[in-house]
Subunit: 392 residues, 2 copies
């Protein structure tokens, strides 16, 4: 067991109609001039954006708007948001949407509160010293950005996708109404469930430091999402299942399932980040497409964890050698992905990189992680290339 | 599933030697003049208090001291602390100890930050509007007060024990070094494990609103504490077991294991509070002495939960009628208590109330809960009396 810090200051307001509390929450955290930041048309079409604006109007909270956050949110829009905030004297950013709008809101928050180019914080050349307060109305259960310290942005030039982690950007509040996720396309719901599980699986597969209670919480969370992902496949309007998945999404990535460990592996995410940067695929689907190949590549060097996972999460029978049990666990995850219509390789993801592109992906991934990375098994550029190739 | 709020802003710094970070943390949260509040001699004898003072001295943070917090901490000491803080211009309270020192520190924090008598907040006649910031160096894993919104104080006049709950008093930081708990007497360690489990069991036994993920987390937490309580009985210096129990103590009472429910039952706590007020027994032991009787009195009206608990936490075989399974679960809890030398009735607790005293206990408990209370089964004064009688 390793020492750890745990810090989740986000005030969560969870349940039906909770978006009506947004003005009170903005005021509670000192917001006087708000940037409402959102993504595509669904927030507009559903009437949510208008309801939010009416609530702020009713409470005398002034605001400006910036839409257009896309999956793998772009640096260009972040710059635009920073300029808008500075010009309008914005002191609070309200993200309405999923991970894209929230990550982009956090980046804008960094950009306004620090001098210089905000991209510096994403290419690791500087660390942010402050962030404008960010609040969230969540409409997609997936990234966990509503409670996390993480923000991932893609620079259009070179399609470079990078994350910045700092407690400074953890949202002040997160309004979570599961009803707002009911109109999501099935594919996005399944991508979300995959992403949620992966945030905890990344933390789970490590050789350095584990804690029994953290494992117990992680396994319970994973079993819950697995079960409810299948319920939602068949019954997308199931409120309770939406709620289970939504709350799991926050707990999967706020740090809870990593206490006592070194932080986890995260190579599936890193391998996917390069795919997401280059091909603009859905993040959850990209993770599903890579994970099985990654797992088969590394499991022998993290065998006790793969075995425990197979038995406690994937209901694999404790029979046979450890390797057999671990492999049956990996197969069970892939079966689960297929059952919720997620890809288990790049072809199913709809991406068929040339050999040259595979080499580029591995090179970019290696640079992004500073050469080598991984807690289940340390991966170098040649390992990354091997996994990309095998995941075709 | 019910709507819920979740707010755990406490920054947790967990691991060996973490108390050396105390001055930085006090400064991070704006403390310039600190009240160091602690309990009995062990904090002094172990040298911890001196180390804390040396660290504050080295960082140029000034402080005053107030020792003497006792189990079931007294209102008199709270008043003394309030006067001291006002006289010395204290702006931050550092509790060094367990639940008594922390609860007392929170009460002092209320008293300094609000006008009027602080007891008003404990007898529910007023609600606090503010609280001085409180930080914690934890030395006993038990009450979870290091992350909770709760503070329990006993008024010497009439020996009235009451709790005040408000997010205002949630500690700013909690330093948790499991090594600091290694010298605890075995009885206190067992009392702590009992209290920790009970905080989650109180939330678990309810008929109104549950959530699968919350149940999964609660059950995982309970299994972890149960297992490690027995490890600590045989090997009190086991660092990993100390750490599992310490972290479980915080998670058991910070709200995590109650998300999606109505808050839980809490009648075991309420029945014990009256015992604690009148006889000054150890809180955890008092809970153990009451729980089995309470459980047998209410289980038929909360049968699905008692059955689930029996199977998922106490490893009872899923065989026989629901009632049989539930009863075997209750017996398994009592067996567990006995195995860690906890009492399972009042006599074993060392308390033998007269019939007149039993009537007084029930009357006081009924008044304290506003007449009737309970989420597994609503208990009125006559029910409370019946449970007290049966727990002899």
């Amino acid at each position: 067991m390793l020492d750890f810090k745990y810090y989740t200051p986000t005030k969560v307001v969870f349940g039906k109609g909770t978006e009506s509390q947004v003005a009170d929450l903005v005021k509670e955290f000192g917001g006087k001039k708000v940037l409402i930041h959102y993504g595509g048309g669904s927030v507009v079409r559903s009437g949510l954006l208008q309801r939010v604006k009416d609530t702020l109007d009713g409470a005398g909270v002034s605001y400006v708007e910036l839409g257009g956050a896309v999956p793998n949110p772009h640096l260009g829009l972040v710059y635009e948001g920073i300029d808008l905030c500075k010009k309008e004297g914005v002191d609070f950013i309200l993200a309405v949407g999923g991970g894209s709008a929230i990550d982009s809101a956090k980046a804008i928050g960094y950009g306004v509160a620090n001098e210089g180019d905000v991209w510096d914080f994403y290419d690791y050349s500087r660390k942010p010293q402050a962030c404008l307060p960010v609040g969230v109305i969540l409409t997609i259960a997936a990234t966990g950005s509503e409670m996390s310290d993480s923000s991932v942005i893609t620079k259009e030039e070179g399609l470079i996708k990078r994350g910045c982690n700092s407690d400074l950007c953890r949202p002040k509040f997160a309004i979570m109404n599961p009803e707002l996720t009911m109109t999501l396309p099935d594919y996005q719901t399944a991508c979300g469930c995959t992403d949620i599980m992966m945030h905890t699986m990344e933390r789970y597969f490590t050789n350095s430091g584990t804690m029994e209670i953290t494992d117990a919480l992680a396994e319970g969370l994973l079993r819950t999402v697995k079960k409810n992902a299948i319920i939602l496949r068949d019954d997308p309007k199931n409120y309770d299942a939406r709620a289970e998945v939504m709350w799991a999404g926050s707990l999967a990535h706020n740090g809870l399932t990593g206490c006592g460990s070194d932080g986890g592996d995260w190579m599936t995410h890193r391998l996917e980040h390069e795919l997401g940067g280059l091909y603009d695929v859905a993040h959850g689907a990209g993770l599903a497409a890579i994970w099985g190949t990654w797992a088969r590549y590394v499991y022998k060097e993290c065998l006790p964890r793969f075995k425990k996972f197979a038995i406690n999460v994937m209901d694999v029978e404790d029979k046979g050698t450890d390797e057999e049990i671990a492999l049956r666990g990996i197969e069970a995850v892939e079966d689960f992905y297929r059952s919720i219509h997620m890809p288990t390789n790049l072809r199913e993801l709809g991406v068929e990189p040339t050999e040259e592109e595979l080499v580029t992906l591995a090179k970019k991934c290696s640079i992004a992680v500073g050469g080598a990375k991984g807690a289940a098994k340390v991966l170098h550029e040649e390992d990354m290339l091997a996994i990309y190739r095998a995941s075709m």
